[in-house]
């Protein structure tokens, strides 16, 4: 095996306000990103203690290709999920990977609980522990504005922060990354809050010379040209991920009104095409990505008589239009923007928030929840009651709201309606109802995300294949994505970064590898995650699949529990043959 660079790791103890840097040769074969983070997390997590216990670590990692190759823009966070209690893994873009690269640290470990509200300023010259008491309670955008003035590094820095939801322990609170991206899923924001950590500002100025200029430049240019001059990335830059809204709707794959339907009669008004034509004002990119998939829309709102208007620039994507749109029966972009604005400012994961509101609405309609408990009367297509519910689940004034702050699974366990609380392994579902592979993929995937193994794609591309072949495709994809995630390549660029390109890119920066070696890496990480999450309590015999999946027709027709269970058995046989 070729020798790999040894990652440099920064370890921060919030309680003691101490830092150390470590270099571990045994981490080198993991290359970076999810590989290094998985190994570190599996060693540092305390499986006996709650997700919000001060001992639990937060691990951020990027990789050797970060920023210096096109569309290699992600930073991974690994943690014990406050939402599911098990494996937490989330990715964010914007400037974070760039800023980390320029500090010279490939991984940052944050442990302990600060004695009072704190923010961290991390640079290539060390870490400053800064008082954040004046920032506690502030919204995400206000926190960002203040830190922008307090800290240096304009243009090159990254500012990640939580809103009130994270401070108050909402189990699906997110961490906002540079205004328009997020560590969205699985509740990293609650973990920040539990550590009294309001924000982290990262800015490095480390010089890093290019060793093999000719080879590196050639490979960079080839990849850049693929990203910019071919049609591979058109979907993401053009209409963006929101192009899926119409596509899924036409195929009965768009979860609508708490998945009581899989198509939406108002989809045309909230489709990617409609957003682009009516409210898109600009597109933005993560640092190092020439594609620019971040779609920014204008939310214009009259707040008083006499033509008093306010406006905000908000980022939208398919998942937001699904979770805060079709899933809640929203018939206009304006209403969706109102909800996006609320989750952004409070610091909530948009998918979990929307899916939870879907359950609340149906539970209210069925008489499980009352107006007295909620303080409002939730109804599909009405944004105002939802805005109040979102604020209240942050404030948590009564028992119901304390349960809502734990997520849809926990709330349904307490109040009932589990058969239509749309979660898989306690995580709220993503915006696809394509078939068995989508459900299985999210139920068994390491982070219970549609991006673990692209089940929604397997359902459609392998439509006529056998259940065994679909299971094999899911597992193979999850392992390969582990490799891409070691390199923190944006998964939107997975068609560009096929094996040959990955090997060429690595070789050009002095990290020669082979197909066998990368395959083994993907496999090793897959196993390590499986082992760790089992210790954290995950058991695929225990995963509950809400009945609603089998009541509403999908892209691949009507589904039934027996056929799904058959796929689960194939999965178990395929991934743990000893059982």
């Amino acid at each position: 095996m070729a020798v790999k660079p040894v990652p440099r790791i920064l370890v921060i103890n919030l309680a003691e306000e101490r830092v150390e840097t470590i270099r571990r040769e045994d981490l080198a074969p993991f290359i970076g990103g999810i590989g290094v983070a998985t190994k570190l997390f599996s060693e540092l997590v305390d499986v006996e203690k709650d997700a919000l216990d001060p001992v639990q670590p937060i691990i951020l990692a990027n990789g050797p290709m970060s920023t210096i190759f096109p569309v290699v823009t992600k930073t991974v966070a690994v943690f014990r999920s406050p939402l599911t209690g098990e494996w937490g893994e989330s990715y964010a873009g914007m400037r974070l990977a760039l800023a980390m690269r320029m500090t010279g640290f490939q991984a940052i470990v944050i442990k302990g609980r600060a004695k009072r509200p704190m923010y961290l300023a991390i640079s290539h010259q060390g870490v400053r522990f800064k008082d954040a008491t004046a920032l506690w309670g502030l919204s995400v955008s206000e926190t960002g504005s203040i830190l922008r003035d307090l800290e240096s590094g304009r243009g090159h820095r990254s500012c990640i922060r939580i809103g009130p939801a994270g401070e108050r322990g909402v189990r699906f609170a997110n961490v906002n990354v540079d205004t328009y991206r997020h560590f969205g899923r699985l509740g990293l924001g609650a973990l920040f809050g539990s550590k009294n950590l309001k924000a982290v500002v990262i800015h490095g100025e480390r010089e890093e010379p290019i060793e093999n200029f000719a080879q590196y430049s050639r490979v960079y240019k080839e990849i850049y040209n693929k990203a910019v001059t071919t049609d591979i990335m058109d979907k993401y830059h053009g209409i963006g991920t929101a192009i899926n809204v119409n596509g899924l709707n036409n195929l009965n794959g768009l979860p609508t009104k708490n998945l009581q339907q899989s198509s939406f009669d108002q989809a045309a008004a909230i489709s990617g095409e409609a957003f682009a034509e009516q409210s898109l004002i600009r597109k933005m990119a993560c640092a190092g990505c020439p594609v620019g998939c971040i779609h920014i829309g204008l939310h214009r709102r009259e707040f008083g008589p006499g033509y008093d208007y306010e406006s905000k620039n908000l980022s939208y994507d398919h998942e937001l239009i699904f979770a805060l749109g079709s899933f809640l029966g929203m018939s206009s972009q304006e209403k969706i923007y109102e909800l996006i604005d609320a989750v952004e400012e409070l610091g909530l994961d948009a998918i979990s928030a929307g899916v939870l509101l879907g359950w609340v609405t149906e539970a209210f309609e069925k008489g499980i929840l009352t107006e007295e408990q909620l303080g409002v009367r939730p109804a599909f297509d009405h944004s105002k009651p939802y805005l109040q519910i979102l604020r209240k689940l942050v404030q948590q004034p009564n028992e119901l709201y304390r349960f809502l702050a734990l997520g849809a699974y926990a709330a349904a366990q307490r109040y009932g309606g589990q058969e239509y609380a749309m979660t898989l392994a306690k995580n709220e579902i993503a915006g696809y109802h394509t078939g068995y592979a989508n459900i299985l993929g999210q139920a068994v995937g390491a982070r219970h995300s549609h991006l673990d193994n692209a089940g929604y794609s397997v359902d459609q591309k392998l439509k006529d294949k056998s259940p065994v072949e679909k299971v094999e495709a899911l597992v193979k994809e999850e392992k390969w994505r582990n490799v891409l995630n070691c390199l923190t390549i944006c998964l939107f660029a997975r068609e560009i970064y096929q094996l040959d390109t990955v090997l060429a890119a690595l070789d050009s920066i002095g990290i020669p590898s082979t197909e066998e070696e990368l395959e083994k890496l993907g496999e090793d990480i897959f196993r390590l995650k499986q082992d760790t999450r089992r210790q954290l309590g995950y058991d695929f015999n225990q995963v509950e699949v809400p009945k609603r999946f089998f009541e509403t027709t999908s892209v691949t027709g009507n589904l039934n529990r027996e056929a799904f269970q058959e796929m689960v058995e194939h999965y178990k046989a395929h991934t743990c043959p000893q059982n």
Binding site: L98, R148, D178, Y224, A285
Partner: protein
């Protein structure tokens, strides 16, 4: 007439930083954005617009006038030629630059001078920055 770098279409900028990476890579053989002579940043956070700090390609460059060691020479068409071997690192050019876009690299003890090579423009996916002849003809 030789062309100079212009940033006339910044409203189209997506903030991908490919130009900065190109400058640092091709001119300085560095991965570090600190080494780029073109700097992109926002006017006030990512909800605001992008700005480009670039050499404006003066026809009578103040930086060259301020240079006492012959390292910066006026370039035909605007801007300067930089002869690093002659530079002693006095930083007079940094002070003199009218638009304050010359930054100083303490590692090499030399200023980061835009040499008007156009590398950055070749990696701009939306032709936000371009090489153009000076319009005022001076």
């Amino acid at each position: 007439m030789a062309k100079i770098l212009q940033a006339n279409y910044m409203a189209k900028c997506i903030g991908c930083y490919s130009c900065m990476l190109a400058c640092a890579r091709t001119v300085r053989h560095s991965f570090s954005l600190q080494q780029s002579a073109i700097q992109i940043h926002t006017a006030g956070g990512l909800q605001s617009r992008f700005l480009a700090d670039i050499c404006r390609g003066c026809s009578e460059p103040a930086c060259a006038k301020a240079c006492h060691c012959g390292a910066l020479l006026p370039r035909n068409g605007g801007g300067v030629r930089f002869i690093p071997e002659k530079c002693l690192g006095c930083q007079e050019c940094v002070e003199a630059c009218v638009v304050k876009t010359i930054r100083f690299d303490h590692t090499s003890n030399k200023p980061l001078i835009c040499i008007q090579c156009g590398s950055c423009t070749r990696f701009c996916p939306h032709q936000v920055i371009t090489m153009e002849v000076r319009e005022d003809g001076r």
